[in-house]
């Protein structure tokens, strides 16, 4: 059983997606429980794999015992072991969270939601685990198609937003596929490790250049790197709460992972940073993404939309870090995938609780929210502190590595952009805190007798995932040394 763990991580949700649909038609409530069990199992197997990778070494799993490069290989090394665990935990937490929200927002579509939810995560888990470039495309499409459906479930404005996303997402996937095609022409192989060996022995031809360019642009579209970001804010804002809680932390981060994977496991350091030498251009793009995301976030009144622009800025962090071309920058980018995943989850869950109770997420509806929903706001505060980068939350430590990397690479503009973005985040979140804390009384005169605001907290099934995530932010922060030493550094050692 244990040696099958890499496959089970993906196969369990794939099969249970089917059962969720069938059973859900008769017993809608069961589909919720089934989803939770599914991702609990996935998390356990992901953890087993992680442990194996740390203690023994990378795992190579051949599907159907077809040897690579002919069959499909699942390759788990230090980087994706951690990301797979993150994905399954996020899915698990969002599944718990979604119960009340989905019942309220999508009453009659409960089984559809959970079945799509499970399929989507299956795709994401597969993308992260696979060591096959074409298999990755297939899984990319699985997660993309299910995400279109999930986003559009709430109807209304979500249709148009999702349609935009569909166009952009398809373009991104096509670019990726073209890139893989060029690789196939050049190397005759689809297995990543195999391609890497063949490429590094060849002279770098234009075909390889085209492949790299297409794959990168495809992924930048998928991850919403500014200025390819336009699809993201609306799509995530108008989606059902639980959908955005699931997609916001995962979709873009998985695309960043694919970028890292392609840079490290298919192409190599020498080619990217010495032959191509695009780093200064890409880092500048990342700087623009950070600044643009921050400025656009400042303009938003709707908190959910504000968070989506923050995602755009955070993507800049990771792209910039990865393209600095040094160990600290790369560590920062990889660590930030995990950190940002949970940070985004924490904030979206908190906003989700608020939307569930208050009805909308505009800044003005935050009045007196600290009195009304103290536990939700506790989670929100920790998420916000992590975004700003207050130690010991994990957001601080990713910034630590990214700034270190920027300093070593002497990219001052990236360093300053990181600092500015932290400060903008401080402004953004303290603006909310201020409204929640001060505008408890309708009139502004300094009388100290506040009208009683009744405590009206979100249900426990929403609070538990939120507070767990908040705890994780601090936990990950305190274990940064272990994560970096045992997971990220062994991975980087092979790349640099």
């Amino acid at each position: 059983m244990i040696e099958q763990a890499p496959a089970l991580i993906v196969v369990i949700p794939l099969i249970s997606a089917l059962f969720i649909t069938i059973i859900g038609l008769y017993q809608p409530r069961v589909s919720w429980a089934l989803t939770i069990v599914t991702f609990a199992l996935s998390s356990i197997f992901a953890f087993i794999c992680l442990k194996h990778v740390v203690t023994v070494g990378p795992i190579s799993y051949m599907f159907g015992n077809w040897p690579a490069p002919f069959g499909i290989e699942y390759a788990i090394d230090h980087l994706n072991a951690l990301i797979v665990l993150m994905i399954s935990i996020v899915a698990f937490l969002v599944a718990i969270f979604s119960k009340h929200d989905i019942a309220k927002e999508l009453g009659d579509k409960i089984p559809h939601f959970y079945s799509l939810f499970t399929l989507l995560v299956t795709g994401l888990l597969g993308i992260t685990l696979t060591g096959d470039a074409f298999n990755l495309y297939v899984l990319l499409e699985i997660s993309a198609l299910t995400s279109y459906a999930l986003l559009a479930l709430s109807g209304g404005r979500a249709y148009i937003a999702t349609f935009n996303y569909l166009i952009m997402g398809t373009i991104g996937a096509c670019f990726y596929l073209l890139g893989v095609g060029y690789l196939l022409i050049n190397t005759g192989s689809l297995n990543m490790a195999d391609i890497a060996v063949i490429i590094s022995n060849n002279t770098y031809s234009y075909t390889v250049l085209a492949a790299f360019l297409f794959i990168m642009i495809g992924m930048w579209t998928k991850m919403a790197l500014f200025p390819l970001h336009s699809w993201l804010p609306n799509a995530y804002t108008y989606a059902p709460t639980s959908t955005s809680c699931l997609l916001a932390p995962l979709m873009t981060k998985v695309s960043v992972y694919v970028m890292l994977r392609m840079m490290t496991s298919v192409f190599n350091y020498d080619y990217i940073f010495n032959v191509l030498q695009w780093q200064s251009v890409i880092v500048t793009l990342a700087v623009i993404a950070i600044l643009a995301g921050s400025v656009l976030a400042l303009k938003q009144d709707n908190l959910k939309k504000m968070l989506t622009y923050l995602i755009v800025a955070e993507i800049g962090y990771m792209v910039g870090g990865a393209w600095l071309g040094n160990a600290n920058g790369f560590t920062g980018a990889s660590y930030h995938i995990i950190a940002d995943g949970f940070m985004t989850l924490c904030l979206f869950l908190a906003i989700g609780c608020i939307i569930y109770k208050v009805g909308d997420a505009s800044l003005s509806s935050m009045k007196g929210i600290f009195t009304k929903m103290p536990m939700t706001m506790l989670g929100f505060l920790i998420g916000a502190f992590s975004m700003i980068g207050i130690p010991p939350t994990c957001g601080f430590f990713s910034k630590w590595y990214l700034i270190s990397g920027a300093y070593e690479a002497a990219s001052w503009h990236f360093l300053i952009a990181l600092l500015i973005s932290s400060l903008v985040n401080a402004v953004l979140f303290f603006r909310i805190i201020e409204v929640g804390y001060f505008q408890a009384l309708p009139s502004e005169e300094p009388n100290h007798h506040h009208p009683k605001i009744k405590r009206d907290e979100a249900p426990i099934s929403m609070l538990i995932p939120l507070l767990t995530t908040a705890g994780l932010l601090i936990g990950i922060g305190l274990y940064t040394a272990d994560i970096v030493t045992y997971l990220i550094q062994p991975f980087i050692k092979n790349f640099l």
């Binding site: 130690p391 001060f438 009384l441 300094p446």
Partner: protein
């Protein structure tokens, strides 16, 4: 010198933290709630006394919290300087808690539970800063302090409090994230360590331009020290209730700022490096400008608390100036001045609050003849201001004495002149208040010739701290020895 691994420093930080949790959950019973404050404060003091002997023998305590970054742990390392500061904060917390009760209850302030809980949290963070063994740990507690004092500064929750709070956080977070954070990371990348050491962690070979940049980033990065032009938050934060101003803006917050700056100057750069490079002069010039300018501004303020605030800005730079001289005596003087100024300035704030509780007056021009109504308060005020000016019979002169010695050692006469001018300016903005309070003409007096002091809980604390100020003149060793141990000067 020996280092002993001990849970004591962590216990002190934790006790206040747990205290704040207890305070939060006993909101129904006011007296029980306040009891927690005193119990935790008492435990803190007991633990501090337990640590004192070992530290005074020239040893240190250390405690490893967690290794958060590879090779860069969060850890406590308590030396004389940390002990000195912890004692100041711990002892004045007790007095301030008493005063808070005397101030908050008669005024029927709202949200007192939040107030006392955040107060305990702030003390916990202050202790954490005092005990930090490296820059990262210090930065962590520095940020926690900024955040936990925000609800205190904005306690009144009105438009004015919001403005003050906004300024407070904007300045503190902008500087700590924008300046101190990169400075810390760059230091680490260049030296491979952030652990404080009296010899400094930079080698002589470090690029001088880089050192200057780092120095400026650190000094302005810890903006709680109120160096101009990043002092703006300090007068703004005076919208807080007076006990908050008293403890936080005379002791905890601002002193954490100068503590951090001093730690960086002595533990990261090291006295030797400072004095052998132009860095020392740079620090002195920046500090001197703030000393003079803030004193001049203080002269023009009519709001008593604002005048005290600008006086604080000046005195903080005084402390930084002492360390900037970069001689042993100068540093001993500046470390001791943290304690001396704390006792003097908290007395003054307590008096300002007592006046407000008894009469509702905030402006100096309204305090003509007040000595007749509140003689004890105003005598305490006199003693406090004498200490800040640095006159005999108060502790303030001891630390100033050492700083002057340090300035003479370094052979920089212009610093002596700065000290002289500043003391005169201090006298110029404090003595008229006291003079008018007692010796005004009968027809100018705005107060009846009958003694009517503030309630005992608000009157007692300034009297206690005023007496403390005098005691520190007679027994300056209480704090002086710690400073000497920290710098390595023989007692």
């Amino acid at each position: 010198m020996q280092t002993m691994t001990s849970i004591l420093p962590a216990a002190i930080v934790l006790v206040s933290f747990i205290g704040s949790v207890f305070i939060f959950f006993t909101k129904k019973n006011q007296n029980l709630r306040e009891a927690w404050t005193f119990i935790t404060a008492a435990i803190n003091l007991v633990l501090l006394f337990k640590m004192a002997k070992w530290i005074l023998a020239g040893n240190t305590y250390s405690f490893h919290i967690a290794e958060v970054l590879p090779g860069l742990p969060l850890f406590f390392n308590v030396d004389g300087f940390g002990m000195l500061f912890a004692f100041v904060a711990g002892s004045l917390w007790v007095v301030t808690s008493l005063y808070s009760i005397g101030y908050m209850r008669p005024l029927k302030e709202h949200a007192q539970t939040r107030y006392f809980a955040c107060f305990a949290l702030a003390i916990s963070a202050t202790m954490g800063v005092a005990f930090s063994g490296n820059v990262l740990t210090m930065y962590l507690f520095y940020e926690i302090l900024s955040l936990s004092t925000y609800p205190l500064v904005t306690h009144h929750q009105d438009a004015e409090a919001r403005g003050g709070g906004r300024k407070y956080l904007t300045f503190l977070l902008t500087t700590s994230i924008g300046f101190a954070l990169p400075a810390m990371i760059i230091t680490y990348l260049n030296t491979g360590t952030l652990t404080f050491s009296n010899a400094g962690i930079f080698t002589q070979a470090t690029d001088p331009t880089l050192l200057i940049v780092l120095l400026l980033l650190f000094i302005f990065g810890f903006a709680k020290s109120g160096m101009m032009p990043f002092h703006v938050w300090l007068p703004g934060a005076m919208v807080a209730p007076t006990p908050v101003s008293a403890l936080l803006h005379a002791v905890a917050v601002v002193k954490v700022g100068v503590f951090c700056v001093l730690r960086v100057l002595t533990g990261v750069f090291g006295i030797d490096l400072l004095s052998s490079t132009p860095l020392s002069t740079i620090v002195c010039v920046i500090a001197s400008i703030t000393v003079i300018v803030s004193s001049l501004i203080a002269l023009t303020q009519d709001n008593l608390k604002r005048r005290l605030a600008f006086s604080t800005v000046g005195q903080l730079s005084y402390i930084v100036l002492g360390a900037g001289i970069a001689t042993s005596f100068g540093v001993v003087g500046s470390m001791t001045h943290i304690a001396m100024h704390a006792f003097g300035k908290i007395t003054l704030f307590f008096c300002a609050g007592a006046i407000f509780v008894a009469t509702g007056k905030k402006y100096i021009s309204q305090m003509v003849g007040i000595g007749k109504q509140m003689p004890f308060t105003m005598i305490a005020f006199l003693i406090g201001s004498m200490s800040v000016i640095g006159l005999p019979l108060t502790g303030g002169i001891i630390s100033k004495w050492y700083m002057v010695l340090g300035a003479m050692d370094s052979g920089r006469l212009w610093i002596l002149i700065i000290y002289l001018i500043s003391s005169l300016l201090n006298a110029a903005y404090f003595f008229p208040i006291v003079y008018n309070a007692f010796f005004c003409k009968e027809e100018d007096s705005q107060y009846p010739n009958k003694i009517k002091e503030a309630p005992l809980a608000a009157l007692l604390p300034p009297v206690i701290t005023a007496i403390g100020t005098v005691i520190l003149f007679i027994y300056p060793e209480l704090f002086l020895d710690f400073a000497k141990i920290a710098v390595g000067v023989s007692k």
